[in-house]
Symmetry: C2
Subunit: 148 residues, 2 copies
């Protein structure tokens, strides 16, 4: 049985934001793509359907309700991805050649060790750490549909 929460209308109503066409279209596009995507690429997919200003507004709306993650690729492209309830904590791998961004889940042992490292840092630097991110850079080889 398919998860109801994956429908744009449900996502929006769950977060108490009004259900509008541009929001549905943007969510649909992100869900359909299924991977982290460049704002540029997203814009081209939405060409003629959602105004540029609206796209940026919708992305901000999604960030505000914490269902959109935004980060910057090594070549300074802004990348966004939906944060779905079923998603687990993960990190990213960037191909320096084709620009693809790939989700990576690291082992629990690793994550636990990272938490311990962060606790050490918190104490040493008197810093309250709220979040972390691990990014890996390299080149995709035979599995890459873009840059084989």
């Amino acid at each position: 049985m398919k998860n109801m929460t994956q429908e744009p209308r449900n996502i929006l109503s769950q977060h108490k934001v009004s259900i509008t066409n541009p929001r549905i279209i943007v969510l649909d596009t992100l869900l359909d793509f299924g991977n982290p995507i460049t704002v540029e690429e997203l814009q081209s997919k939405l060409k003629g359907k959602v105004a540029k200003s609206t796209l940026y507004r919708v992305l901000n709306d999604l960030k505000k309700i914490n269902i959109l993650n935004e980060f910057t690729s090594p070549d300074n492209a802004v990348v966004v991805e939906l944060i779905l309830e079923e998603d687990s904590h993960h990190h990213h791998l960037f191909c320096s050649d084709c620009g693809e961004v790939i989700d990576v889940e690291l082992s629990d042992e690793f994550e636990m060790m990272l938490v311990k490292e962060m606790e050490k840092v918190q104490k040493e630097l008197h810093f309250e750490i709220k979040d972390h991110r691990v990014e890996m850079f390299g080149l995709c080889t035979d599995e890459c549909s873009n840059c084989e």
Copy 2:
């Protein structure tokens, strides 16, 4: 005895790029600041000394010879830092409040474990990983000179 390689002129000649005033001034400013710095802040420090276009060109030059690291802070500010020979591999901590970026060295055990994780990922995803980055986000407390 102070390390000769830390002098702008030496850094430049070691990397076989011509020794010019703007390059010396930019390197001096980065060395003097000693921490990761926002391009914006760097620009204000160089106001009247180095033209905006030249600053960007020099930063690109330094990136090309691999002595400048560039990354993006959570509020999308571009941050740069010199990579000096004496620097060891390290990561960064970002204060969401004042924007400060702090160098963090994580334990060797952690780094070794991360390498192992990367090896696993390489095999699973047929990806050749060249580099990695760990970023931590949070709030500085009593030690922060900017946002106490």
